[in-house]
C-alpha cells in the first residue's frame, strides 16, 4: 500500500516536472512547479521529516511561485521558451547515461542503518550545524539584495538599456 502511494506521488512529480519543462507558456510552467513542490513535500512528510516538508511546501510552492509570477509580470511578453539549441536526442543520451551510471553506483552501495532513537531537528540545527544557521543568515541578506535588484526601477538615461 505504501509502495503504491509513494509511486503515485513520485510519478506525479516527475510528470509535473516534464510538463513544466516542455510547456511553451512559462506561466503554466510555474503552476506545474508548484505542483512538484507539493508532491515532493508530501513524500518528505511521509518519510518522517515533517519540519522540512512544511518549509518546502511554504517556500517552494508559495514564495518561489509568487516570485516567479512577479518576475514574469515584469518581463511581460517575453514569457515564451524558444526551441533548444542543443539537439534534444544528444542532450537526452548524455543525461540518461549520467543519471543511470550515477543511480546505479549509488544504488548498489547503500546500506540501511536503523535509526538510533529519535533525533530532534532543532537539536541538530542549533547544536551540530550552527555554522549552517549562520550561513543561512548571510544568505538571506544576499536574498534581500536580490529582491532589491528585482524591484529596482530602471534609471532614466542608462546606456545600453532597452525599454520594456
Amino acid at each position: 500500500m505504501d509502495n503504491i502511494q509513494y509511486a503515485i506521488l513520485l510519478v506525479g512529480a516527475i510528470l509535473c516536472a516534464y510538463r513544466a519543462m516542455v510547456s511553451k507558456r512559462i506561466l503554466s510552467a510555474t503552476l506545474y512547479l508548484a505542483g512538484i513542490s507539493a508532491l515532493v513535500s508530501t513524500v518528505i512528510y511521509k518519510l518522517g521529516a515533517m519540519q522540512v516538508a512544511v518549509i518546502e511546501l511554504s517556500v517552494g510552492a508559495g514564495l518561489v511561485t509568487v516570485l516567479l509570477v512577479y518576475a514574469l509580470s515584469v518581463v511581460g511578453d517575453d514569457a515564451l521558451d524558444p526551441s533548444s539549441i542543443i539537439s534534444k536526442p544528444m542532450a537526452f543520451v548524455v543525461v540518461a547515461l549520467t543519471i543511470s551510471i550515477l543511480g546505479w553506483m549509488a544504488y548498489t552501495r547503500w546500506a540501511i542503518v536503523e535509526s538510533t532513537g529519535s533525533i530532534v531537528l532543532a537539536d541538530v540545527l542549533w547544536q551540530q550545524r550552527v555554522l549552517d544557521v549562520w550561513i543561512q543568515i548571510a544568505l538571506i541578506f544576499s536574498g534581500v539584495m536580490g529582491v532589491l535588484g528585482l524591484l529596482s526601477e530602471q534609471k532614466p538615461g542608462q546606456t545600453g538599456d532597452v525599454p520594456l
Binding site: 513520485l10 517556500v59 517575453d78 543525461v95 540501511i112 535509526s115 536580490g146 529582491v147 532597452v162
Partner: protein, 103 residues
C-alpha cells in the same frame, strides 16, 4: 529487486534529477532556467531527506535539506533579479543571444 518505499523514492529522485538536468540543457528562456534549477533542487532536497532516513540520522539530513532550501530560494531570487536586469540591458531573455563571453 524488492520494492520498498525507500527504493521507490530513490528512483523518483533519479527521475526528477534527470528531468531537471535535461531541462537545463534544452531551456533557452532565462526565467525558465531558474525554474528548471528549482526542479533539480527539489530532487536534491528529497535525496537529502532520503539519505538521512537511510543512514539513520534523519535530523542531520533534515537540517542540511533546510539549508539547501534556503540556498535554493536565494538562488531563485538572485537568478530572477539577474534575469530581469538582463532583459533590461539586452532586450531579450534568450540565453543563446546573451553570449558576450564568447571566446
Amino acid at each position: 529487486m524488492n520494492l520498498t518505499p525507500l527504493n521507490i523514492v530513490f528512483w523518483g529522485v533519479a527521475g526528477l534529477f534527470g528531468v531537471g538536468l535535461y531541462g537545463l540543457l534544452i531551456t533557452r528562456n532565462l526565467i525558465k532556467v531558474v525554474m528548471v534549477l528549482q526542479i533539480l533542487v527539489k530532487a536534491v532536497v528529497l535525496a537529502l531527506v532520503l539519505g538521512g532516513k537511510i543512514s539513520g540520522n534523519l535530523g542531520l539530513g533534515q537540517s542540511i535539506a533546510a539549508t539547501v532550501i534556503v540556498v535554493d530560494t536565494i538562488v531563485a531570487v538572485v537568478g530572477l533579479a539577474l534575469a530581469v536586469q538582463v532583459r533590461r540591458r539586452f532586450g531579450t531573455l534568450d540565453v543563446s543571444e546573451i553570449d558576450t563571453l564568447r571566446g
